[in-house]
């Protein structure tokens, strides 16, 4: 079964088939018409010949029939020329006159036949085709037969028939091809609004959810499809909006009471109690922050023209996490590129991904060791720690939401790496996890670099 990807190719194929069938039928019809017309001319000529032979028939005084052909007619029917022949037969079938050597009739006589008949007779390997015309002279009725040997038929007419395809038939093909081209052009024109709509559709995404396909120029046959797509986009946009609103509302509703709680704790007099409660609230705030991040990332918008300087984003994150690391007796270091490294992406989200990698590394790296950031010119940022490393069997698990190696350990939600993965996904970035020697892990994110 032939399958066509495009309407144009379908039209071209069907058109070619139609052209082929039409040109064959047209040639057949024309050639049939031509031979029909040739036959007509032949019959007419034969009938006229019979009439002119008949004019030279006369009755003698003794009541016999006499044929006195003039010279030009004698020449026409001569054996030497051999092309035409005549015979005159009476109502009993007896041959009165004949141009043939054997003095025979051209066609079998039949007294009941019509006044004019067209007949054909095979004789040996020659075929004689001609007319039989009834004529009454005085009281005698005769049939004048004239015939033409088809083997010697006029070359001109034969050539026209035989060469019809070569000389005339070919003209149908270019005409039909021109028609095909015209049709394709018309169709391409008719499809142009669809192509334009497709180009617009290509730009539609979470980053530009408000774009709709234009319906004015779209052919009426396709308009229902375009309208349905637009309505689908309306529903998607609404879904995104609801999700975003929910995230923003949830953030506000959760963070404000936490803030009240945190301030209330900060004003407590009992220092030990204050310290313990702060830790609890901060842990809770951390989880809520990450949950909100995840909710936001599910309906997030990454604009296609967003760009970020990975070097400065990584530096900012290093500055941000350094006090936290130092407070735990761990060091931070940044190396690699010192010039801006431009990549495709939203700087805030990139920062969030790197920050989660860094917080993860700080949590796991051994006391007194350094968490290193490395930014490379090809759009890669790596975070290296000196922790226990990641087992082969854990490589997939670590990116799962809420997965933790040690559930008893405080300060880890199991959400950080799943946030990293989601942000990487949104930016078509590649995550690599390796173990370092002698110990430690290296997480790398390779973003899509931009030519600066």
């Amino acid at each position: 079964m032939l399958r066509f990807k495009s309407i144009i190719s379908r039209i071209v194929f069907l058109h070619v088939v139609a052209v082929a069938i039409t040109s064959i039928l047209m040639s057949l019809a024309l050639s049939w018409l031509l031979s029909y017309e040739t036959e007509n001319i032949h019959h007419k000529a034969m009938q006229e010949q019979a009439a002119s032979v008949g004019e030279h028939l006369s009755l003698t005084s003794d009541g016999r029939l006499e044929l006195n052909l003039p010279l030009d007619l004698l020449g026409l029917y001569s054996q030497a020329y051999g092309r035409y022949s005549y015979a005159v037969i009476d109502d009993r079938g007896a041959v009165l006159f004949s141009s043939r050597e054997d003095h025979a009739a051209l066609f079998p006589g039949d007294s009941r036949s019509a006044p004019v008949e067209f007949l054909q007779q095979r004789r040996g390997n020659a075929t004689v085709s001609g007319a039989s015309v009834k004529k009454t002279i005085g009281d005698k009725t005769v049939w004048i037969q004239t015939g033409e040997d088809l083997a010697n038929r006029d070359v001109l007419i034969d050539d026209i028939v035989a060469n019809f395809y070569k000389k005339v038939g070919w003209i149908t093909l270019p005409i039909l091809l021109v028609l095909l081209m015209t049709d394709i052009a018309i169709f391409r024109r008719a499809l142009r609004p669809l192509r334009e709509a497709s180009e617009i559709a290509e730009g539609i995404g979470p980053a530009r959810p408000g774009v709709r396909l234009p319906t004015e120029e779209i052919p009426r046959e396709v308009r229902p499809l375009v309208s349905a797509v637009n309505q689908g986009l309306d529903r998607l946009e609404e879904g995104f909006r609801i999700q975003r609103d929910f995230t923003a509302d949830a953030a506000h509703e959760l963070r404000t009471p936490l803030s009240v709680l945190r301030s209330r704790i900060d004003l407590l007099d009992d220092q030990d109690m204050r310290q313990a409660l702060r830790q609890n609230v901060d842990g809770m705030a951390h989880i809520i922050g990450q949950l909100l991040d995840i909710a936001e990332l599910d309906a997030v918008v990454v604009h296609s023209d967003d760009k970020a300087d990975l070097q400065s984003v990584a530096t900012e994150v290093a500055e941000f996490v350094a006090p936290l690391a130092l407070a735990q007796g761990k060091d931070i270091a940044l190396s690699g590129a010192t010039e801006p490294v431009w990549v495709k992406g939203n700087p805030e989200m990139l920062g969030r991904a790197i920050r989660n990698l860094a917080e993860n590394a700080i949590n796991h790296t051994a006391a007194g060791s350094t968490v290193e950031f490395v930014v490379e010119g090809d759009g890669t940022v790596s975070v290296l720690d000196r922790g226990p490393g990641i087992g082969e069997d854990e490589r997939q698990l670590i990116f799962r939401r809420f997965w933790r190696r040690d559930r008893r350990k405080q300060g880890s939600t199991g959400l950080g790496l799943s946030i990293v993965q989601r942000i990487a996904e949104l930016h078509s970035a590649v995550i690599t996890v390796e173990n370092r020697k002698p110990n430690g892990a290296r997480f790398s994110l390779k973003f899509v670099p931009l030519k600066s």
Partner: protein, 224 residues
């Protein structure tokens, strides 16, 4: 010193006012954009603590208006959003700093003081970490209340670090602070000054530590 808190959660506003009072600030509390607009046009405040989600409008609008009127009042924005798209937004509209809820009261006070100690602002006197103090008025460092003599460059580095207490100061910031934006700086010049400062401080018994965050910058913190 009088501050204005614009926050619609009365409980939080009350707690902030109470906390700031213990740090020596008097606070007025308002809960709508409209009230804040009216009060700000007639009353002088040392700083504004502004929540973004207010019942009658967005705090950012008020902030824009304030800046359009060339009012240089330091503004510390409080936001519950802190989402992946929100951060730069507030700062671009003219906020001097921002805090995402929930925040520590100490952090709020520290950020506020950082704003108030900026040139032209009201707070100018003493910065302190453990037994090390730095008077920004006469640019004098002291350890255990004993004035110390440091070179001009060492003093400049220390001042910058003390002003950014608890936060990383980038190497670039130190360079700009000491040498200005022009002039060639030897690649290790800053490291040399920081190294000297660190040595001076430890020899003189300051219980602080100047950390080097390799590739990032420097941070001063209490010694552990």
């Amino acid at each position: 010193m009088r501050l204005l808190i614009v926050e619609d959660n009365e409980e939080l506003a009350g707690l902030l006012a109470k906390g700031l009072k213990t740090a020596g600030y008097e606070c007025d509390v308002l809960s709508t954009v409209e009230d804040a607009r009216a009060v700000l046009s007639t009353t002088f405040y040392a700083a504004l603590i502004l929540d973004l989600g207010l019942p009658d409008g967005d705090g950012l609008e008020l902030l824009r208006e304030i800046r359009l009127r060339d009012n240089p009042i330091p503004v510390l924005v409080l936001t519950a959003r802190g989402g992946l798209h929100d951060r730069v937004h507030g700062l671009r509209s003219g906020a001097d700093d921002y805090l995402v809820k929930p925040f520590a009261l100490e952090e709020l006070i520290a950020r506020l003081e950082a704003q108030l100690r900026r040139p032209g602002q009201l707070l100018g006197s003493s910065l302190r970490i453990a037994n090390l103090a730095f008077d920004t008025q006469n640019r004098q460092a002291s350890i255990d209340d004993q004035p110390q003599v440091l070179s001009a460059r060492e003093t400049a580095v220390l001042e910058l670090l003390m002003r950014s207490k608890g936060r990383v100061v980038s190497k670039k910031q130190v360079e700009d602070h000491i040498f200005g934006h022009s002039g060639e700086v030897a690649s290790n010049a800053i490291e040399v000054y920081v190294h000297r400062l660190r040595k001076q401080l430890s020899e003189r018994g300051a219980r602080v530590q100047v950390h080097t965050i390799r590739g990032v910058g420097y941070l001063i913190a209490e010694e552990k």
